[in-house]
Amino acid sequence: MSFYGIVDGSESSLKHFLAQLPGVDQVGAEARAAMLATRSIKTSSKRWAIDTAISMVDLTTLEGADTAGKVRALCSKAVRPDPTDSTVPSVGAVCVYNDMVAIARTHLDSIGGEHVPVAAVSTAFPSGRASMEVKIQDTQDAIDSGAAEIDMVIDRGAFLSGQFGLVFDEIVKIREVCGDRAHLKVIFETGELVTYDNVRKASYLAMLAGADFIKTSTGKVAPAATPPVVLVMLEAVRDFYSMTNHRIGVKPAGGIRNTKDAIKQLVLVNETAGPEWLTPELFRIGASALLNDLLMQRMKMDDGYYASPNYVTID
């Protein structure tokens, strides 16, 4: 088997490829991300950025305490984030646990939200500690229930102990399960990968194995989607595009709570990967609280006065 003609999937070819990747300049990456974070986006640009960010949100609920009712409420919000304003775009997707997929899909279809895909977290999310059979079954089950996007976690233990082939094979297998029916997002849990070098290696590993998206974190571990980590991943998809002519998406998740953070992410995308990535097909933001802040900022721009959280939903 050939993966973009770059590796053959064997442990040795992966090790050889990943070893020749240049290391990340840690100080440089952090300084670059910090510099881009100082950009000031105002008025009509800000308005565009807010609407773009809303359309990129993967509206997420991943709690043990999730109920069918909460998922339905979330779906309604995903289709019409602000019930009082029909100009607000729908979000990018609804992201839930496996058993909630059917509930979400049915509810979305019943309220005119056919255009909003359901993303399911899979492969024993968030830890990834299960046998391969279970992971495959988990994924198959989610797709059969109507998930159009699969957010899988990698085996961080295997990655950190250098078993790149194992991590690669898992992604390849889940990719096969997804086939044409679902997009595959691969979650690294960058907070556990520790170094930017590891983030870069994991990015290439996932892209070569067939990921459609690479995603920073589960949202269960801090730090999550820090700007330098996202920068490193955006550089990886940009360079991967020049190598293979394939555009891979990026999804930061975890810790992006307000409009300022979201706009910083958009600036990073524009300045690193390029404006082609500024679309929900190639950039998503995994978040739950963020949407409310985006809506409040939007209200502020429309009304001319500061909004209150009393006027947006709690969940």
């Binding site: 006065y305 500061y306 006027y311």
Partner: protein
Amino acid sequence: MATTPKKPVARLEVKKTYKLYINGAFPRSESGRVYEILTSKGVSVANPSLASRKDLRDAVVAARAAQSGWAKATAYNRGQILYRIAEMLEGRAEQLATEISLATGVSSKKAHDEVLAAIDRWVWMAGWSDKLSAAFGATNPVSGPYYNFTIPEPQGVIAVAPAESFLAFIDAIAPAIVSGNTVVALVPGSAAIAAMTFAEVLATSDLPAGVVNILTGSHDELAPWAASHMDIDGFDISGISKKKRADLKVAGAENLKRIHHFEGALSPTRIYAFMETKTVWHPIGV
């Protein structure tokens, strides 16, 4: 051969940078702006921060986050903390008097009297914390087998725009926070110096961060934003001139903000002005 100077070189004074007080910290204004306070003879006294509407926004977020915790503290505990603030103020009385006299030009005797009056009023207000439910609550007679209680509760986040004096500033803050509200204070002009010293008092008095947030600068700039802010529940506009009050009331109508203007002697009705009453029914004999 070095010559010894006849007089020793005067010591370089270490001047204070006046900043804002938001969420228990002392940030500069996000705008980076300052304004100058001069004595009547034109001598520069200080350069306080000139707060912007974004500082106001940040202060409201801090006040909102702190509100439920402060309201949940027992009345006894809130009273204790307010009394603690008075203890700290007592130790700073000389400093406050000097600052007031310098910034406003009043005699040091008058400034000193103002500070002592402020401390006394503060202590008096502290005492009200555990008496509010008795003073403003009630057990109501109803025609049925029910107990019916009226319970006063704090409103939420209150903005205050006191007149340009330390006493007016104290008079605005104490009644707002004693019931469990949190406050964003808009302190104008020359009152900024004593207000920021007061912030240092608050920071060392076990008052939870965000309960009182102090912005210095101009009422004309900040008051309209406070009046229209949807997450502010009440606005004390005692320091706003008569001509400008109507516009603020119109702006505040959007979220039914309570906007009050107080005159005359300090009274507990000023506490009640920013409280809501909750009525509770409870069946008798169950």
